[in-house]
């Protein structure tokens, strides 16, 4: 990189080189801050749990479905990267779209799960609410908020792969989005077990 002189600074090649070098570390450190965000929230729950009026809640059955869906979506997304690497771009596009659909289905099941909670008398806020319920809603909704960012990145990848912008060597965009997506899956699995066994 030191060989590139100033004249080339606005040069696309230089910019791509910097991006290649720094995009992944940027993402990873960003993920670290999200980890700390949820570490803060889940430790808050552990502190709140010691209160005498804490009510232990059952995980709504829909959350199991969510878990399966998001695990599958990680798998399909990973497949799509492999397809791109093998230059089977058509399959890659299909699996990316599939991932997106699975992501949407995950979102839908989250809403169903909240409905289940609501009907079983677990409220987000107000007189009849208990902090344990509020944590259920807050943690899952904040995860979903992060998932929306993932869905947007998926949309970009879907569009670009339909436009045939990827090739076995230009895959940085997919890799970034994929890493983030796996992270969301891992985060969900963590939250799921945390809510099931600790909360």
């Amino acid at each position: 990189m030191t060989t590139i002189s100033l004249d080339n600074l606005d040069n696309i090649k230089y910019k791509t080189e910097i991006r290649q070098k720094t995009a992944k570390p940027l993402l990873w450190i960003g993920l670290m801050s999200i980890v700390m965000f949820f570490a803060g929230l889940t430790s808050a729950l552990i502190v709140s749990k010691s209160n005498s009026i804490w009510i232990k809640l059952e995980v709504p059955s829909m959350f199991f479905v969510s878990t399966i869906l998001i695990l599958f979506s990680s798998l399909t997304y990973q497949l799509s990267l492999s397809f791109t690497k093998n230059n089977q771009l058509k399959f890659a596009t299909i699996t990316t779209i599939l991932t997106f659909v699975l992501g949407i289905s995950f979102t839908v099941t989250q809403f169903y799960a909240w409905q289940q909670l609501y009907h079983s008398g677990v409220f987000w806020a107000g007189e009849q609410s208990n902090p344990s319920g509020s944590y259920f809603y807050a943690l899952t909704a904040l995860h979903l908020l992060h998932l929306f960012a993932g869905l947007i990145s998926l949309l970009v990848v879907v569009t670009k792969s339909i436009l045939k912008k990827y090739s076995p060597t230009t895959i940085l965009g997919i890799q970034l989005s994929l890493t983030y997506w796996h992270f969301l899956t891992a985060l969900w699995v963590y939250l799921f077990f945390f809510l099931k066994f600790i909360a």
Partner: protein
């Protein structure tokens, strides 16, 4: 380059000065915004010091500046709380976090590691503009109905959680939270860039043990920020839920105005845990860059290698790590289990070790140095002084058995102003004096700088040293007046004295601001390397160019502290008393960072 020139001048202006992605311009933007905020925070403290020193007396300046926040020239009690809260918030976050890190990380990281720019110029630009928007919202909150947030810079619930609690708990508090959420986003974007740039974009030969200590301090600061700010964001979000949606994360068994509220099951102590998990590391987010900056200056201006380079790095790493496990020392009086209190006492006192190592190394670097007392050097030595005198009272506050006696008194106010406020400010000002030639291409006036330093150090100690005695006598912090308690009557003169020093400090800073603005526009042109420094930023031209070096980026061959290095004959190796990092090692010469 010509192919890239924009046809419209206007557009050029917009991208060069406003939405710039160049780290040097972004650094200037942070500096100027930070200083404006700092000036506002300083003015607030001078105003409420007037009230504390001369309670109930009428001042036209208070009438003039505070308007409806005052009556007949006397500030209103609830507005006093708003001013203290905003003063603390602005000083800690806006001046000494964004202002300090934003300015110097942006300026020095690419220049000192040998990079064209930050990893992502775009995120860097966003980081500044988030900071800007956050500053504007924070200032707007001063003008809203009910006044600005008044629950202290620590915004403990229930005052912060119940909009109807006190006047500042309403819209003012909401805007405080919005501004801080945006601020946290800005800080995270900045930190991401700093870390990745340092780790990935160093020039050839720039190993981690050849980095200037400034860079190490920015790196550790950014890591501490990435780890702790998200937790504050989490805390603030739960607070927003309690305030606006009626959840009970922090509230329980509470009634207001005789009316029982329906909140149940939460705990305000939970907020304290989450807040101080950021709050304590935040102290080091303020302090570490100041330590890095002054290490660099002390070495350069003593014309000696920094003593214990590796020990300096290790102790900063240790401080960074320990800062995450000491937060409980702010909570000794919350009914904490005494055993847990002892644990936090232990971890807190551990920090004394790396801190003492740093102080030792500063002093041994100065020892027998060929010292040049530039204003930057004066402020750096000032930092060594405040770091010692503030650190010593930290030992008292870190010990749970002693802290319980002085908790929430002026002893604490004296302690944290000296160790964090003054050290942070001294480091920042030292950095501005030292790198002003690099930032603006002109020199600051030395005599005004010296006057500024002596006024500042005298008035700073004059303000904050006596506060310890007030605290030991039991004067509580965050009180509008102390004249209502016969117990404190004999302390009255101390309060007046402190206020006189505060006024002196204020005028001292005006000298600096004048020097700053005048020199930026009219100061004498700077030479390329005014302090005969070794690090890479002095190999770039005085005039800023996009990409920093016109040709290739220089290669680095040695650490940055080869000052007054002698060869076997007892002469300076290069004929001068400094050897820039770009000079190759001679045969058999050892690199200083390696041992």
């Amino acid at each position: 380059m010509s192919a890239h020139q924009h046809p419209h001048e206007e557009q050029d202006f917009l991208f060069k000065y406003v939405f710039s992605q160049d780290h040097k311009m972004i650094s200037k933007q942070f500096l100027i915004t930070g200083f404006i905020m700092g000036f506002i925070g300083l003015s607030m403290s001078t105003l409420f010091r007037l009230q504390l020193g001369f309670p109930g007396e009428s001042f036209w300046i208070i009438d003039f500046l505070l308007g409806s926040w005052a009556e007949n020239g006397v500030m209103l009690p609830d507005k006093y709380l708003a001013l203290v809260t905003m003063h603390g918030t602005i000083m800690v976050f806006f001046l000494l976090t964004a202002g300090l890190s934003g300015t110097f990380s942006n300026l020095l990281i690419p220049l000192q590691i040998g990079a064209r720019d930050m990893a992502s110029g775009f995120l860097n630009m966003l980081s500044y503009w988030f900071f800007f928007v956050s500053s504007v919202i924070m200032l707007i909150s001063l003008g809203v109905e009910g006044g600005a947030a008044s629950a202290g810079w620590t915004i403990y619930p229930p005052l912060s959680a119940l909009p109807q609690a006190i006047p500042g708990s309403g819209l003012g508090m909401t805007l405080w939270l919005v501004a801080m959420a945006i601020f946290i986003a800005s800080s995270l974007l900045g930190s991401l860039n700093y870390i990745v740039t340092i780790l990935n974009l160093r020039t050839k030969g720039m190993t981690m043990t050849r980095l200037p200590l400034t860079i190490w301090s920015f790196l550790i600061t950014a890591i501490v920020g990435v780890i702790s700010f998200p937790v504050l964001l989490a805390a603030a979000l739960l607070l927003v839920f309690d305030r606006s949606f009626g959840t009970s994360f922090y509230l329980s068994d509470i009634y207001i105005g005789g009316q029982v509220l329906e909140h149940a099951g939460g705990s305000p102590i939970l907020f304290e845990h989450l807040f101080w998990f950021l709050g304590h590391p935040e102290v080091y987010i303020v302090l570490l860059p100041a330590l890095g900056i002054t290490s660099e200056i002390v070495s350069t201006m003593s014309r000696k290698p920094i003593f214990g380079y590796r020990a300096m790095i290790t102790s900063m790493l240790a401080i960074g790590f320990l800062s995450a496990i000491v937060w409980g020392h702010h909570m000794f009086v919350t009914g904490m289990n005494p055993f847990l209190g002892a644990v936090f006492t232990f971890t807190t006192l551990l920090i004394a070790i790396p801190s003492a190592v740093k102080v030792f190394n500063y002093i041994t670097t100065l020892w027998k140095g060929n010292i040049k007392f530039s204003p930057a050097m004066l402020f750096s030595v000032g930092l060594v002084s405040t770091f010692i005198s503030g650190g010593l009272t930290g030992l008292i506050l870190g010990d749970s058995t002693l802290d319980i006696n002085v908790h929430d008194t002026y002893f604490v106010v004296g302690h944290f102003h000296i160790v964090m406020g003054l050290s942070g400010i001294f480091g920042m000002i030292a950095g501005v004096y030292h790198w002003f030639p690099k930032i603006f291409g002109r020199m600051l006036n030395n005599n005004l700088g010296n006057v500024h330093f002596w006024i500042t150090i005298v008035s700073a100690y004059g303000i904050f040293f006596p506060m310890h005695f007030l605290g030991l006598a039991g004067v509580p912090r965050r009180y509008y007046t102390n004249s209502e308690f016969p117990l404190f009557d004999n302390l009255f003169d101390i309060n007046t004295l402190i206020t006189w020093f505060a006024i002196l400090a204020f005028f001292g800073q005006l000298i600096f601001f004048f020097n700053f603005v005048y020199s930026a526009l009219r100061g004498p042109k700077a030479p390329q390397n005014p302090w005969k420094g070794n690090s890479l930023e002095w190999t770039t031209g005085v005039k800023h160019i996009h990409g920093n070096w016109p040709g290739e980026i220089p290669t680095v061959y040695r650490w940055p502290y080869d000052y007054s290095k002698l060869n076997d004959n007892g002469d300076y190796v290069t004929g001068e008393d400094f050897i820039p990092q770009t000079v190759p090692l001679a045969d058999g010469e050892k690199d200083g960072g390696e041992h």
